[in-house]
Point group: C2
Chain length 310, copies 2
Amino acid sequence: MELVEKVVINDVMLRDGLQLENKLLSVDEKYDLAVNLIEAKVPTLEIGSFVHPKFVPQMANTGELFKRLDKYVSMNLVALVPNLKGARRAVEYGVSQLNFVFSASDTHNLENVRQTTEESLKNYELIKGFCDERNVKLDVSIATSFGCPFEGEIPTGRIKAIINKIIERKPNIVTLADTTGMANPKQVYLLMKTLNEKHPEQRFNLHFHNTRGMGLTNILAGIQAGVQSFDTALGGLGGCPFAPGATGNVSTEDAVHMLHNMGISTGINLDDLIVTSAKLREILGHELSSSVLKAGKYDRKYPVPSKNKH
Amino acid sequence: MELVEKVVINDVMLRDGLQLENKLLSVDEKYDLAVNLIEAKVPTLEIGSFVHPKFVPQMANTGELFKRLDKYVSMNLVALVPNLKGARRAVEYGVSQLNFVFSASDTHNLENVRQTTEESLKNYELIKGFCDERNVKLDVSIATSFGCPFEGEIPTGRIKAIINKIIERKPNIVTLADTTGMANPKQVYLLMKTLNEKHPEQRFNLHFHNTRGMGLTNILAGIQAGVQSFDTALGGLGGCPFAPGATGNVSTEDAVHMLHNMGISTGINLDDLIVTSAKLREILGHELSSSVLKAGKYDRKYPVPSKNKH
């Protein structure tokens, strides 16, 4: 079993997690959670998006949040942008790392951003030029990379062609996102093995949802294919607008717990992470799908029942 | 990524799943569920245990259930037994495959069956002799093989020594059970690789709980180490008496779903399995931890939202 020694975790709770919550968090609440995550040594955070507040009111205070966090400017604090307009606004707020997202599936992309994948790739060129002129890092996330809830299977050839196109312009990080939890570990392993061999200089990142319970298996498969960078969300927050009750992103604490148990370092303080997850649960007022939050770490010891009898 | 082509699933819902439920199922209810699982082509089932009804009232009708299922005598229908007395009763009811369970941890074994591990190994000799005389298959399950909730880590040397001892007498199947969900995939891979190399003739089976979300990753790791046999429970039923709210056994439908997606065959009809899991949820009257039951299979397609607008 070939494993890497070190993995970078990018927590996306404040963006992908919160964007489906009914409760709108204040800048103060988001700020506290972000600082808790930073203090738990989570190395990179996606903390919001510059999208129209009419569509995603949960993200309306993203600019303000970045301003509040300006003393953490040396951290990797990322904002999602769906287009050049969003990129311009993000940069106005001092954001230095953007994540441009579009879908490999035309149907999904048309639903999300009213563009075909081809049109989004042209937009990427514009945004990349804009960022390069300003020394802003540009990441790219390809949604529905492992399947589309409308179209079904997305041919691997299509994913590879999109990635070839993107990489020509030297993006910072390229994320393959399993937007609705359709990926399986064999599929992840085979695709990432090929991509890592073809583009050894490119940092790839993987973003899994735990919709069908395979989130951690897909991280394990990614690691075996040499991937060292993963999106996860505190508490396993997030979800799928189409599958009520389904779990969301892979939980950050579950992922870190598994990685540390396997001797893979993340630099993160897991205990601090669990405390922050419990705080998030209190703020939101509902259970979270995280396993480690409920059950504790693997080495949690219990009193021996018979020793308590008198 | 080395994978096997075929895996045998042993569903333990009727035993390990139901034994922690408040609701006591009737023989009729259990019979229907068992027949549904048999008709879904689940190749082996652990359907009850011969333990004292004072301690586990949920299993009190196990003998009656075996009698009702006597036309399925050619199937692998297994009963758990904790001692020779249980084995005698099981055989009286016509059970032809027994699973003798004890713990690798002395503390855990003393709590469960008031014996040290050493004493249980002596009991194994007696039960094995009893079974051999009657042509009854005897499996052995070693609880807390990957850690104990009271003692913590169980040294690998201790597990290996127990297995050496058991294998001398040629048991049918040897199960390593992660009783409270402490195992991680690296640990599983390393231990099973060693055991498979040392005992190539022995069929090993793995039993994981999803307490910390690593159930499917541990199955994946077991497969990579060459294991082809796993315990799972319909709906992910079961749990840990010490961790309220924690999830139980790996869900059979989640495991089968992942295996089929990876091209590994189980012979099981997944759709039938999901229907039976929904029935189980109705009988028990509470949510189950199964992911696929909630979210549907990976290839479930959704209507395109904008196409529904007028």
